[in-house]
């Protein structure tokens, strides 16, 4: 393994550059997507950190939150300033989200991740098709 890596030494700078470029492009897209669609930025930030900057999955998820928190705060503020807000709706769904967030974090270690991921992405694609109409 080591020899192989050393043999490829000449190619590594270009590969690193492309990976950084990937992280930059995905990062820029995440900011735009998140404010326009009102979410989904994290779906781009996590791979930017993981595949672009080579950060391991768990740390990439944790770091993605650090990216998304300021982005979503500013995006939400932009919507609010444009007159798009509803306190009752926000509070009710928000209470559920806080409760659900804690449940999700506790459940995390107890569920089959691969099967659940596939189910989740399947529903996501289905929802996408519904939005097209």
């Amino acid at each position: 393994m080591r020899e192989k890596r050393e043999g490829r030494k000449g190619k590594i700078p270009l590969k690193n550059f492309l990976k950084k470029a990937l992280a930059t492009v995905l990062g820029a897209l995440s900011g735009g997507v998140n404010v326009l669609f009102g979410g989904g930025g994290g779906m781009l930030v996590a791979p930017a950190l993981r595949y672009g900057l080579g950060i391991e999955e768990k740390r990439a998820h944790a770091s993605a939150i650090a990216v998304m928190l300021p982005l979503s705060t500013v995006s939400a503020a932009i919507y609010t300033m444009r007159g798009v807000w509803d306190v009752r709706l926000g509070l009710l769904v928000g209470c559920g989200a806080v409760l659900g967030g804690a449940m999700g974090a506790l459940l995390l270690k107890k569920v089959p991740k691969t099967a659940l991921s596939l189910l989740f992405y399947g529903v996501m694609i289905y929802a996408g098709v519904k939005f097209l109409k």
């Binding site: 009102g38 709706l89 989200a97 974090a105």
Partner: protein, 128 residues
């Protein structure tokens, strides 16, 4: 709209978010399809309800030192530029176009993720 159902919708989004899936990618369709919330308002709700959980998660993660701050900065700088571009575009895009574009986004990211999950699964099993 029924309060209990709205809280339940939040729970669904929260559970998925807490498990590390993009909770919003499902909360948005739930709010627009099941509760007939206008898309832009659903977007606002989704952005806002993520905040409290994210603050708690971030505090926990940074205490555990699992946040790679250098990488965070590397991504946040282009992301802010994207945000500015998106915000400028926002007023010019109709709700209908936004919904469709989000649909394309969900299908695209969903499909890539399916492949990534399957690839990771087979790679792991091949190793064992």
């Amino acid at each position: 709209m029924n309060a209990v159902w709205l809280i339940s919708a939040g729970i669904v989004g929260g559970v998925l978010g807490g498990m590390g899936f993009g909770g919003g990618t499902l909360l948005l369709p739930i709010l627009t399809f099941f509760f007939s919330v206008p898309y832009k308002l659903a977007a606002w709700v989704n952005l806002v309800v993520f905040l409290p959980t994210a603050v708690v998660a971030l505090v926990v993660h940074s205490k555990n030192r699992t946040v790679e701050w250098r990488a965070v900065w590397q991504v946040i700088v282009p992301a802010v530029l994207g945000l500015v571009a998106g915000a400028l575009l926002m007023g010019k895009v109709s709700e209908r176009l936004l919904r469709r574009a989000f649909g394309v986004f969900l299908i695209f990211v969903g499909s890539i993720s399916v492949f990534a999950v399957l690839f990771g699964f087979f790679k792991k099993n091949a190793k064992n």
